[in-house]
Amino acid sequence: NAGVTQTPKFRILKIGQSMTLQCTQDMNHNYMYWYRQDPGMGLKLIYYSVGAGITDKGEVPNGYNVSRSTTEDFPLRLELAAPSQTSVYFCASRLVGDLSNQPQHFGDGTRLSIL
């Protein structure tokens, strides 16, 4: 019963490098989300997706890109890493429908440091 799986768990990047944070869920959830959490702060929404092929910006999308080619996968891409992107990144998924209002399920997070 995997739920939401994020990889990698930790990563250190140099300024200007690029990388993709992977997120996959096996619960057939239609909605998926990427958040970042800075020390002592709540979660801020980066991007979200309401289904395969559809993505929308959240509160803090600058410097990130996403894609949703399948229901299961929602990768987050950093093209030119900057120190301000040092954070813990959480992926989440949720089943949303006319008669369904379920809570989000979270992955364990990816701790990213940019030096």
């Binding site: 909605y31 989300y33 958040y35 002592g40 702060m41 709540g42 979660l43 801020k44 929404l45 979200y48 309401v50 959240g58 959480f90 989440a92 949720r94 949303v96 209002n101 809570p103 989000q104 399920h105 979270f106 992955g107 364990d108 997070g109």
Partner: protein
């Protein structure tokens, strides 16, 4: 602009105390309010509230929503050291976004 505000931001109590955490919100097209507990890793779901005045209870934790005054409280009775965590409140709107508050960091001392 949608926003969720939690108070206090941090709280230190002793085992056995009762605590009340607050969450107020201003969100367009409210659908539900959720409480999460976050320890070392990902947030763990506690409660989801959609209707005013109906208390949700799980062991020593309980929560209630007031949709007229736009707030919710989370109560923890007979606190234990294992209750030490960050408690996050989040509000869900009709568009599917989940807006989080800053969190309340609770520390329970033996």
């Amino acid at each position: 602009e949608d926003k969720v505000v939690q108070s206090p931001l941090s709280l230190v109590v002793h085992e056995g105390d009762t605590v009340t955490l607050n969450c107020s919100y201003e969100v367009t097209n409210f659908r539900s309010l959720l409480w999460y507990k976050q320890e070392k890793k990902a947030p763990t779901f506690l409660f989801m509230l959609t209707s005013s005045g109906i208390e949700k209870k799980s062991g020593r934790l309980s929560s209630i929503l007031d949709k007229k005054e736009l707030f919710s409280i989370l109560n923890i009775t007979a606190t234990q050291t294992g209750d030490s965590a960050i408690y996050l409140c989040a509000v869900n709107n009709q568009g599917g976004k989940l807006i989080f508050g800053q969190g309340t960091e609770l520390s329970v001392k033996p």
